[in-house]
């Protein structure tokens, strides 16, 4: 028993039945797309819409004739926000279900838990989440936005508007540490300085002393790299102290999980962000996507950056497979490296062959009235951070996740 039954689409029976069949027959019938996401537990805020995005993308692919004449079927597992289950279900997708491709993983820890397994078993892996960058592995495609892609547009814009002294608040884990470094890098490049960087473990919810410390340092602006539910209290306590009208703020993380809707207008207004996706992006592709989402799921409240990245990741894989005329791992990799692209809600997305990371449009937005109002669009930004450390064309056997030293 392995499949999340509720989510199996189109006539696919429970896995037990599928498992009973010889694998050759199965392979001819449908293409199996493994999906491994936290659709319950503390990360379901991210995982549930991502899961919906996978379903929607697969349906669109199938109604457009599938891939190489075959329909795509989803094999999904809910990892319940438990890292141990990632390893377990990852093994299962690769060895028992023998899927053709895996999309999923949310936290970096979850990606690192399944990446070696999928590589060993030669199962192509798509990680469609905003993350710290630096993964250099030919078996994986990372289609989410990475710190430099945000910071290179966000930091100069914010400094130009507000001033040179920056105070950084970051979540104390890989993503926060690395993003903080990039912010320092771009702040320096723009002629400013980072006066202080404070790191907070993900369960810290009391920022009283930090708010006092910030005032003591009197910066021109705050850069927030805070992550998750507990850190959300920072924005509340910041506003409760009346600071939101005194010191402006920019963030690389706020809004990725639709935080701008959870916070009130007063708490969120004026925060500057940089993302590839915004609901307020007025392109026909984006509005069409939101329309289809609304028809399918009733409302678009839950659509966020990660869901859209997942939606585009699945489509991008399908484009690659179509172009290759096969779902064999090496064929799909070659097609994507050779320039297969998908025109999605955020604009065109394609793969940078050296890093297997994505190139796409980045939009500078500002929170207004619980919405992300697009200020400016930077077209086709390459993954500049990973590019500094990773070259898969030269070292195709690399599997490291580099920590980028700036």
């Amino acid at each position: 028993m392995s499949v999340n039954r509720r989510k199996v689409l189109k006539g696919a029976a429970a896995t037990t039945a599928v498992l009973a069949m010889p694998s050759i027959i199965r392979a001819e019938e449908t293409i199996k797309l493994g999906s491994i996401l936290d659709t319950s537990g503390i990360f379901d805020l991210y995982g549930k819409p991502m899961d919906k995005a996978v379903d929607m993308a697969i349906d669109e692919i199938n109604s457009a004739g599938g891939v190489a004449g075959r329909q795509v079927e989803k094999v999904a597992y809910d990892t319940q926000s438990d890292m141990a289950l990632y390893t377990q279900y990852g093994q299962r997708l690769a060895r028992q279900d023998k899927v053709d491709v895996v999309h999923g993983g949310i936290l970096s820890a979850s990606r690192e838990a399944i990446r070696p397994t999928l590589r060993k078993n030669k199962v192509l892996y798509f990680y469609n989440v905003q993350y710290e960058g630096g993964v250099c592995d030919r078996n994986i495609f990372c289609t989410g936005i990475t710190p430099a892609q945000q910071a290179e547009v966000l930091v100069p814009a914010a400094m130009e508007k507000w001033g040179k002294k920056v105070y950084v608040l970051a979540a104390d884990y890989n993503y926060g540490q690395i993003t903080a470094k990039w912010i320092q890098h771009y702040a320096k490049q723009a002629g400013g300085e980072v006066v202080q960087v404070d790191f907070f473990p993900l369960d810290v919810a009391d920022f009283g002393s930090t708010i006092a410390k910030i005032q003591d340092a009197a910066p021109d602006m705050i850069m927030s790299v805070l992550v998750g539910g507990a850190h959300l209290s920072f924005y509340r306590q910041w506003a409760a102290a009346g600071m939101n009208t005194k010191i402006p703020m920019a963030s690389t993380t706020m809004g990725a999980g639709n935080e701008q809707v959870v916070l009130t207008k007063e708490e969120g207004d004026g925060i500057m962000l940089a993302y590839s996706f915004s609901k307020q992006l007025e392109t026909p592709a984006n509005q069409g996507f939101l329309e289809r989402w609304k028809t399918r799921y009733g409302a678009t409240d839950d659509v966020h950056e990660l869901a859209v990245a997942t939606y585009q990741g699945v489509h991008l894989w399908a484009e690659g497979a179509r172009k290759a005329g096969s779902v064999e791992r090496d064929d799909v990799i070659a097609a994507l490296e050779g320039g297969a692209a998908f025109d999605g809600p955020t604009g065109r997305i394609s793969i940078d062959p050296k890093t297997h990371h994505a190139t796409f449009d980045v939009h500078l937005v500002e929170v207004k009235d619980q919405k992300m109002a697009v200020q400016k669009t930077f077209v086709q930004r390459p993954p500049v951070d990973t590019q500094t450390v990773c070259n898969l064309e030269e070292n195709p056997n690399d599997t490291t996740q580099y920590e980028i030293d700036i």
Partner: protein, 340 residues
């Protein structure tokens, strides 16, 4: 006694050999065996030493981390495995010495073990910076440590223990730990330990150094939990601070109490049953997993305070004696409290 022991050894061996054919998911089966070992470690110190440790996850996590860090640094997984036993055992001995030489008991002991786990959890979570390094191993904070070398066959360094071979290795260790503890409990040390559980004051008044014996038992429990952690690291191929989390500690306690703290088999059965239940619950979204586990714990405390295995054993022995025994145990607990 000896016959009974060899009988259970044979039964255990057969069960473990047969299990992979009945239950086709070897990967899940392996982790259930590892959980069984972890539950056994707590079952030993709680059921036979009377020490309710709220932080068994601390030793579990330490074992896993010690293995990962040592494996990265020495590139010699079997040496790393040895270190992964020594580190948690020493930590447990130090913590135990602090507890028992300080005469902490009951709820105070629970608090300190819980706090020790929390400290490790919070510390490990805040080690994302590049300054946190042991030798070549970055601690990695929230994301943990991936990519260390796992155990191989001792005579063939290219042959990794994965899938079946890892399963049989874990199963053998569980069986060995089970038999080892059985033997220990019939040996003077184990009998004294049970005597201490029953009446600490009396044990002291006949000349036993209760503090030392409890510390030793605690260290043995810590070592077994660390061994489970070491196996877990080999299974998952990544270690994260979640191994130290409160919910991990909670789960162990639930396994043990549902299975039955007063026996060695009970905790293993509890871990298997609830571990399997958790994986099955992961495949539906109607009921929340925690809701089911939590409710089970409440029901177990209310209606099955002795756990599954001892209750079944009692049913076999006959009802009347069982009831009498239950009453006796309660009076003995009260007396111990008075004596203090």
């Amino acid at each position: 006694m000896l016959r009974e022991a060899s009988l259970s050894a044979i039964i255990g061996l057969i069960l473990m050999l047969v299990a992979p054919f009945v239950f086709d998911d070897i990967y899940t089966l392996t982790v259930l065996v590892i959980y069984g070992l972890l539950a056994l470690s707590l079952g030993f110190i709680w059921g036979f030493g009377g020490i309710l440790c709220f932080g068994q996850a601390a030793f579990f996590g330490l074992g896993a981390y010690a293995f990962a860090i040592a494996s990265i640094n020495f590139a010699e997984p079997w040496a790393a495995a040895l270190i992964a036993l020594i580190v948690p055992a020493l930590f447990a001995a130090a913590l135990g010495a602090m507890l028992f030489y300080g005469r902490l008991s009951d709820v105070y002991l629970a608090v300190v073990t819980l706090v020790a786990t929390l400290i490790l959890f919070k510390f490990m979570n805040s080690t994302a910076g590049s300054a946190y390094k042991i030798g070549n191993a970055r601690l990695g904070g929230y994301n943990g440590i991936p990519g260390f070398d796992t155990l191989t066959l001792p005579w063939d360094r290219s042959e990794y223990l994965i899938d079946e071979s890892l399963y049989y290795f874990c199963a053998l260790i569980l069986l060995a730990a089970f038999l080892g503890l059985r033997w220990l409990l019939t040996a003077p040390f184990g009998r004294i330990l049970v005597g201490i559980r029953e009446n600490e004051l009396r044990a002291e008044l006949v000349g036993y150094d209760v503090r030392l014996i409890k510390t030793l038992a605690f260290a043995i429990g810590g070592m077994l939990a660390g061994m489970a952690g070491m196996l877990f690291a080999n299974w998952a191929e990544i270690v994260t601070p979640n191994l130290f989390s409160l919910s991990q500690s909670a789960e162990v306690i639930i396994w043990v109490i549902v299975g039955g703290a007063g026996s060695l088999l009970g905790p293993i059965v509890g871990a298997f049953a609830l571990g399997a239940l958790k994986f099955f619950l992961g495949q539906q979204t109607l009921v929340d997993n925690l809701f089911v586990l939590g409710s089970l714990l409440v029901l177990a405390v209310l209606f099955l305070p002795r756990g599954i295995v001892p209750t079944i054993a009692l049913l076999f022995k006959g009802r009347r004696k069982g009831i009498r025994k239950k009453g006796a145990r309660r009076t003995s607990r009260r007396r111990v409290r008075h004596a203090r």
